[in-house]
């Protein structure tokens, strides 16, 4: 992890990570509001992340996460509401369970599970969103890109699954 007190080091990391691409699935009922708030406050954030709004993070299937990595993305964040504060009657709880199960699986196929960041109700406010994004982006920036081997391995595996 980056030492937050070393400002110059921080910028370095952001620039180093400039080639990485990060996708953020943000629930429209919370994290997207946090993102909007960060925008309104014009908080300066690393430009490596792209937000995909979703109605609820329960929409984010394991397949979407895997596909992100095979497409060339280096970090995936899934940001939803508090477990227990879901607008869709607790739907995010099941989603959370699945995503947590997915993490060790990612490790086994050569994708460091730290590349999948999950947040439940911790990015609702602008400063929370900004903080979460900043630390995730810098973490991904410090890591090398997902190896070509892992990407093609997972791609091949999922293609086989599709053919069977």
């Amino acid at each position: 992890m980056t030492d937050r007190t070393e400002d110059s080091g921080n910028i370095q990391v952001v620039l180093e990570g400039a080639g990485r691409k990060i996708v953020v699935f943000a629930c429209t009922w919370c994290a997207l509001i946090g993102a909007d708030g960060a925008g309104k406050k014009r908080i300066s954030l690393p430009a490596t992340f792209r937000v995909i709004p979703v109605e609820c993070i329960s929409r984010v299937e394991a397949d979407a996460v895997i596909r992100a990595f095979t497409s060339g993305i280096d970090g995936v964040a899934v940001m939803g509401c508090h477990l227990g504060g879901c607008r869709h009657n607790g739907a995010n709880l099941r989603s959370a369970r699945k995503l947590e199960l997915l993490k060790p699986l990612l490790d086994t196929v050569g994708i460091d599970s730290r590349r999948l960041f999950t947040s439940y109700g911790t990015a609702h406010e602008y400063h929370q969103f900004a903080q979460a994004i900043e630390s995730f982006c810098s973490q991904i920036g410090e890591m090398p890109p997902v190896s070509a081997w892992s990407r093609s391995f997972v791609r091949a595996m999922s293609a086989r699954g599709e053919n069977e």
Binding site: I33, A35, S44, L45, A64
Partner: protein, 572 residues
Amino acid sequence: MGNDRSIRCFLCRCHGEISRVIDLDEVARALKSHPGVRSLDVRNSLCLEEDMDVLASRVEDPDATGLVLGACSLYARGDRIRTALEEKGISPDTVEVVDIREGCSWIHHGQPREATTKAIDLLRMGVALQRHRENPDEVMVDPVREVFVLGAGPAGISAAASLVRLGVRVHLLDRAKSPGGLLNLVKRIAPEDVTSDEYLSQKQQTIFASNGGVSHYPGAKLISAHGSAGDFTISFSSGKTEHAIRVGAVIVATGAKILMPDGLYRHGNLEGVLTGIELERRFKAGQLEGNRVVFIQCVGVRDRKRPYCSAICCIVSLKQACQVLDVDPQAEVFVLHRDIMCPGSVLEKYYRDAMARGVRFLRYEQDRPPVVLGDENVDSVEVYDALTSEMRRIKADLVVLSTPLAPHDDAGRIAELFGLNRDEHGFYEVRTLMHPLETKREGVFVCGSARWPVLGRSAVLQGEAAAMKAYELISRGTLAASRLSTYRERKFSLARVDHEACTGCGNCVAVCPYDACSLEKKEGALKSTVNLIRCSGCGSCVSVCPNGSIQLPGHSAMAIGEMLKAVCEQGS
């Protein structure tokens, strides 16, 4: 899927707020060459009328099926642009607003190059989404302009009275013989200080003078409930007859039950130990014997089993304490409490009045509750006074146990019939945050003590509010299922099943948080079917379907896959 659409793009400069950071010329160049993009214009302010008109006129071109706008966030003007375009006849399903202001230029102002790259990605993602968006399925619903109200307590009566004044036909059902709910058992109602007849008479007049506007079924029994917002079928028996009615909305106003102390403090075994409601009965009958009265608060509540405050019992005891003094000004009245809860500008007065009139308050500790002494009759109460750290013995003729309101025994069945959730204590749950009357099931509202213990005036207030919610739903005429909601303007993308691919595994049925999916026989095999009125487009079903056979047409797996590809198109 993958139907090729011709997308028209419009980029907004936002008078420099966007173009100052993002190089829109470069973005325009990158997008113009992008497959699927038919044309691209850069405007100053897409949210203003003149640009909006230009926008609307350009999309009259029949080959331009989708619109991608690079502008501000949905919460800023994005959603409003969509709505305004809809008024000009452009379906929101064909408009994608990509946030390149809050989500890009404003947060990357120090990095114009990166911001430009990102804006290109974001817009390509928008184009990908729009190209792979399919028109959603819709059903039109013409809500039945009648409402079913379950429970004729203050909440239910108030809901019925409000609705009937709006010209809505109401079916008011109660298992009790007479309307009024729990308040019927109360002598004088605090803080209004009136009898229950006086309390509800005006509303009851409205109801019963409504010339058939309200069908009242006392002593009736609910049998079943089916359907969804706009069209429920409810059957019940009243006397020897069975009824089946159709209504557009349901208001659950079943109140709560009074918890019996179940032997606590020797209730039932010792003469002179009463519950609050038994004291009300004595007041009503004018038979108050003895003038040394000890109230014990929080009986069977605010403990491990029922860790909630019933909110009404403190005020009820304060009222009753003063009533004892009304009967006999020489009476000695003690209130043994853990805390006194009487919030607000009106209720605090009861506390002050009671103190001024000589009612004595003594605080006990939860793990050292008072002990009631006596052989045949109550003799005294022994209590450890938490403030002075002393044991006290208080002579008493009557001990009044302040028990809470608790969920009815049949709450589970009612919840199942109407598709409601129950909270950790068993009361009916409402939606989170800003939707205090709406439940998991669209078109079913809860109010009064059914939701949470409340005093009469709050029950009335909530009943009236629930009436407005029901009215909102049934009064707008025919609506598309995606609009048939009282807690949001519009639901985007309702689920759709590909019946050929569905194997009937039932995963979607198991996870759907709104009971919108069900398995039905289709040509001999079980297939998932979506009730579009209940569906809220959350996407839970999509992520558990092993066959990819259930999708949100507006946000399909294909669309997300293409968006992910779009992110990686440049610079990798």
